[in-house]
Symmetry: C2
Subunit: 230 residues, 2 copies
DNA sequence: ATTCCGTATTGATATATATCAATACGAAAA
DNA sequence: TTTTCGTATTGATATATATCAATACGGAAT
């Protein structure tokens, strides 16, 4: 992590959808109160338990969002990409992060003072509503993930995870797997060995093509079928 | 359900904490746009998939909030009490309920037009912020429940559920169990038979005293211990 | 009081899944 | 090139938990 690099990053101004609800003047304030930092793979962007003093936007790269639970076990919540606000639900509750975020690839991140965003939220009701929408959408996502973890079996959950990676993260059925088997397990709620075995089954059934760091979904229909209660 | 009973219900004006952020005038608007309905145990207050046209506040009684998942299985999210806003995360996303709510006891509920609340949210930034806090707090709760379902074993989850019922729902270690074993299972993520067996163990270990509809937590320390990774 | 029906309880069994242990592989370092 | 080390893979086994089946219980209806 290189905190010396502190500069304006014009290129990520309008990344978060909700920033479009700000006026020129308000956006200016945001620009004056942000700074950029770079991270290498594996480096922690912020840590569970630390104060939510800044909101984070990735301008480049991907990061994993995860909770450090009991017994040193981790639960991965999802993968953060550019255009998203990363600021946990603790922001409006206890001003503490309730999960950690770590870079998966090279990452450029913009930090924006949370006080500034909160103040803008109070001034601009469109912005407030957008933020409500953002939080709601994420809560809903967590909800459904919770449901599938509770009710689906491993095959279904792993299929779901692959679909998530293809559709939501990479936007393609042919992508480079940036997660280790361990991490895939943390994301789909199973042991790494189970990930390996099921991935192998999917390969044998010609549902996916798993060439080391590259994953290609061959039979999406079947994968979707498995994900719905496989 | 008796929809003919439509009257102002003065007694529940200030129940939801966030309503305190409204002015007299704004509160007046809320009062003009609400109506009261009564429900009997088992009756559905609103159903998953239906439009979020109204926010609901209970002025009396308790209700279960649950998701109807795959394969007719249910997942109970929690128990709603008076003083709380019941309006799922769909409100700001797709204007659909993502869970159902059904009365567990006799219930009196106030329905308030969602459009009215949303408009007030746009006018009054304190109210908007309060709503953000409310949603965040709930999201955080879901988060931790998710974590414990993923990482704890049955004993820990059931202990946690009992603590939830005592502390959050009834405010006493001595309460009447309003949930069936089936429902207890839906709330703690296990089969009803498992609930029965573990409850019996807790009784044998003198952690609880289970006299049919009444539950008394005798050894809270031990129950807490079990809940933390039992 | 007797019947009836849903829920609770109990025991036996099946199944999903984690854990443990051993080995293989592949990239970085020497 | 060889060594080293973390990750991946595979197989064997243990364990948690669900499911199935039978019975018991308690309140509502007759």
């Amino acid at each position: 992590m290189d905190r010396t690099k502190k500069e304006l990053c014009e290129e990520c101004d309008l990344e978060w959808e909700n920033l479009k609800n700000l006026t020129e003047k308000e956006l200016e304030i945001v620009n004056l109160n942000k700074f950029k930092t770079d991270f290498k793979p594996g480096e922690i962007i912020f840590k569970q338990g630390s104060p939510t003093s800044n909101a984070v936007f990735l301008s480049n790269g991907m990061a994993k969002i995860y909770i450090e639970g009991f017994d040193n076990k981790r639960m991965m919540v999802g993968i953060a990409k550019p255009k998203q606000l990363i600021a946990g639900p603790g922001t409006f509750v206890d001003e503490r992060h309730h999960y950690s975020v770590a870079a998966l690839t090279d990452v450029s991140a913009c930090f924006v003072k949370m006080d500034v965003l909160k103040e803008l939220m109070r001034q601009n009701s469109k912005f407030a509503e957008g933020w409500l929408q953002d939080i709601s959408r994420k809560a809903l996502g967590t909800f459904y993930k919770f449901l599938s973890h509770t009710q689906k079996k491993m095959h279904g959950r792993l299929a779901e995870t692959l679909i998530y990676l293809a559709d939501e993260v990479h936007g393609s059925d042919n992508f480079t797997m940036i997660l280790s088997r361990q991490e895939l397990g943390e994301l789909s709620g199973m042991a790494k060995e189970s990930v390996v075995r099921i991935l192998k089954e999917f390969s044998e059934d010609s549902i996916i093509d798993d060439k080391c760091p590259n994953i290609k979904i061959i039979n999406k229909e079947k994968l979707i079928m498995v994900s719905k209660m496989g």
